[in-house]
Amino acid sequence: MNGYVEAGYLAVLGGLGGYSALLLGKSKKLKKSLLPVKTKNDRDESRPL
């Protein structure tokens, strides 16, 4: 078209896509870090997870 239109759409899609990827990556990492919490010191198993 004229370059500007493409740039605008690219900026929006790229920005939103980048932020979404960041969010997905972050939540994956956090979920993983919550899984292996039962370590040798864990004495009460009552904590709901």
């Binding site: 500007y4 929006v12 939540s27 919550l34």
Partner: protein, 262 residues
């Protein structure tokens, strides 16, 4: 952990936003005709105003959540997590509003930036909420941080009309509004209007999905903090010669930070 229903709604919002954004892009780039006055440039109208609308929507949600936290009868840390989630998504959308506005302005007005009232207000809004997010990174206990950021969020929102009014006067008292030249604004009809409407809906879906995703992250972060604290307390307990009274007091802190169940 997040409930099944929450997960289902979030997934639905995700799918809806992917599909509707795709439709918006296809309609916006290829199906709709170029405008008589603006030519191809008019295609930017299908993304720029919807993105700006979402930014304002996000800040509105932040303010409502802040009020609900400050009001003692509805006080719950969930509102705080919602406020920060919405503000962060809002900052992303404000940034994109500025970028797309600038890209549109360059061919339409010949400059990347003009001191137009709406542009200037949006730029100040962007900085205001960046400040809000920076304030949230200040370490504090969760209640204190929630109160402080709720107040900051509310002040920022109250400031918006004052900023806007001052900037409007600044631009209009001394020179005519050159930007809002009516002959430049496209006449909207038919499939263009439909596409614009779909644009608004699709970016609202994106907002809902992002908000839910971001909220879940905030909630998980709280949980990780709790688990880590628990871990530390247990290690302390196993150390020889640590009195139980000391442990009681740490547990109080832990309880105060209980995460909200989603």
């Amino acid at each position: 952990m997040e409930s099944k229903r929450y997960k289902r709604v979030r997934r639905a919002a995700g799918i809806a936003s992917l599909l509707s954004v795709a439709v918006t892009v296809i309609l916006g780039l290829w199906v709709t005709p170029p405008d008589v006055v603006q030519g191809q440039l008019v295609r930017l109208i299908y993304v720029h105003p919807p993105v700006a609308w979402v930014a304002y929507l996000a800040y509105g949600v932040t303010s409502i959540a802040s009020i609900l936290y400050l009001w003692k009868r509805t006080r719950n840390l969930r509102w705080d997590l919602l406020a920060v989630s919405s503000a962060e998504v809002g900052v992303i959308f404000t940034g994109l509003t500025l970028i797309t506005g600038s890209i549109w302005g360059r061919p339409a007005w010949g400059v990347w930036w003009t001191w137009d009232a709406r542009l200037t207000t949006t730029a100040l809004l962007f900085v205001l909420y960046l400040g809000y997010l920076a304030l949230r990174r200040v370490p504090a206990d969760s209640h204190q941080r929630a109160v402080r950021s709720a107040i900051a969020g509310l002040i920022a929102f109250i400031d918006v009309p004052i900023v806007h009014q001052s900037v409007v006067w600044w631009r209009t008292l001394h020179q005519g509004a050159t930007v809002l030249n009516p002959s430049l604004s496209p006449k909207i009809h038919g499939e263009m209007a439909t596409t614009l409407l779909i644009g608004f809906i699709s970016f609202t879906f994106v907002y809902i999905w992002m908000l839910m995703q971001r909220y879940q992250i905030a909630d998980l972060e709280q949980r990780v903090l709790d688990v880590e604290l628990e871990q530390l307390i247990k290690e302390r307990r196993n150390e020889p010669g640590v009195g139980s009274s000391q442990i009681e007091s740490t547990e109080d802190v832990d309880n105060a930070d209980q995460p909200s169940k989603v």
